[in-house]
């Protein structure tokens, strides 16, 4: 990033190769939309280039890139406030890869993952964000606290409540499916 800040734009390609997939996963899990998430990733790199002079070599670059990503996601939600725009695309669940050898197990596993995906999408935004950052983007609680501008304790409490809610929603969906 320091090279990009100094004007070596070609090095932005290295950053893209390193961060495109985690960023894409972040946006897909936050927005539930694959196509829009690709555009949002582009937007993050556009802002990296635009605001490269504001980057300070303090802490991890990933914290800064997720700082930009959160703002991009917030702008996306502001522009698309309708419920339809925030609904999970069916193909997000259907496209999940499966390596189960037996068709029954494969179907059951896909059903299970689809339920979890659906439960995750039903979490409140702030709880889902903490879970995604911690479980999928592998940020530590203190990094998330700096990102969200709150205490580490508050992040842990939020993560605890998010997991409890996710569990309740998941089991409720599973009961509904079995019934």
């Amino acid at each position: 990033m320091l090279a990009v800040r100094a004007g070596d734009l070609a090095r932005l390609g290295d950053l893209f190769e390193r961060h495109q997939q985690p960023l894409y996963g972040f946006f897909v899990r936050i927005t539930g939309q694959r196509t829009a998430s690709e555009d949002l990733v582009q937007l993050v790199f556009y802002r990296i280039l635009k605001y490269r002079h504001t980057y300070r070599d303090e802490g991890k670059f990933s914290a800064w890139i997720y700082h930009l990503a959160r703002k991009v996601a917030a702008d996306h939600f502001r522009k698309h406030t309708s419920k339809a725009a925030r609904d999970v695309e069916p193909e997000v669940v259907e496209a999940l890869p499966d390596h189960s050898p037996k068709p029954d197990e494969k179907a059951a596993r896909n059903d299970d993952l689809a339920l979890m995906q659906s439960a995750l999408s039903q979490l409140p935004d702030e709880q889902r964000e903490v879970l995604v950052l911690h479980r999928f983007q592998n940020l530590r609680h203190d990094e998330i606290a700096r990102l969200l501008d709150c205490s580490v304790g508050a992040v842990k409490v939020r993560a605890h409540r998010a997991l409890a809610t996710l569990r309740d929603v998941y089991f409720r969906l599973r009961r509904e499916r079995l019934a």
Partner: protein
């Protein structure tokens, strides 16, 4: 720790970031608490399912779009600035004028320096060229300008006199009184005093002007001026003073005018009496 506190620590316990003593405390609690066992089991299953969610993979379109955009940005950044291009061309042009070898460059610099010294000394010592003889048209123009200047001067004097006449009665009276203090009075001042005597609207000013004229009563033009103003005078007071003035001068030329006054019935009786006395004096 109670059950609520234990369950709050499940995340750290699960991730292995809890201190050893606290982790041991939780392990012991889980052995005996069925509620927390259920909670822990449910959390484990939830986290397991959550972590098994596959990582979404972007399409190739995203990378293609990114690199196309990056290439465009690089092209824009690498595009030379038009000002830089102009400056480089200017530099190249100047460089083409200069000789390539340093020795020649030094010689050219020295030649420029000597040329500058010669030009400076030549221009500074240059004698001013004589004034050309004015042509007939220029002479006519100068004459017109001179005439115009004289007219402007006259106009200025006239305006000054007019402004003086616009002054208040006290100021005009003060002006006349100053002439009384002068040891020498020129023709211009006498003309002004006679003018004041004839035309000033204030009786006091006219009387004062007549008083100022007394030292010059021996001059013909002064007596003629007073006699000329006498028929136009409307104030009996000033008329009587004028009659006394000409009587004091023993001016026989005033006799016809005095006789006219004695015969006129439209003027004040005191004026007629004064005219008769003056005629006797003459």
């Amino acid at each position: 720790m109670n059950c609520e506190r234990i369950q709050e620590c499940f995340i750290d316990y699960q991730s292995g970031t809890l201190p050893t003593a606290d982790a041991a405390q939780i392990r012991n609690h889980l052995k005996s608490c069925l509620t927390c066992q259920r909670e822990w089991s449910g959390l484990q299953e939830t986290l397991l399912k959550l972590d098994r969610l596959p990582t979404p993979v972007p399409s190739g379109r995203m990378a293609a779009q990114f690199y196309a955009w990056l290439e465009e940005e690089q092209r824009t950044a690498d595009a030379p600035n038009p000002f830089a291009i102009a400056r480089s061309r200017l530099d190249a042009l100047i460089a083409s004028w200069l000789p390539a070898r340093p020795l020649f460059q030094a010689a050219a610099g020295l030649a420029l320096l000597l040329g500058g010294i010669w030009a400076g000394s030549h221009l500074l010592n240059e004698q001013p060229s004589p004034q050309p003889t004015p042509s007939a048209a220029e002479a006519r123009l100068l004459a017109e300008v001179s005439d115009l200047r004289n007219r402007v001067d006259s106009m200025g004097q006239f305006v000054a006199y007019s402004l003086q006449q616009q002054q208040s009665g006290n100021r005009r009276l003060q002006g006349v009184l100053t002439t009384l203090d002068r040891s020498e009075t020129n023709d211009r001042v006498l003309a002004e005093l006679l003018n004041t005597l004839a035309f000033d609207p204030s009786t006091n000013v006219r009387l004062c002007a007549l008083e100022a004229l007394y030292p010059h009563v021996g001059r013909d033009e002064v007596r003629a001026g007073v006699l000329a103003a006498l028929p136009r005078e409307a104030s009996p007071l000033v008329q009587v003073a004028m009659i006394d003035f000409v009587a004091a001068a023993r001016d026989h030329a005033a006799a016809p005018a005095l006789e006219e006054l004695t015969r006129s019935l439209s003027i004040d009786k005191a004026v007629r009496d004064a005219a008769r006395r003056a005629l006797v004096q003459l």
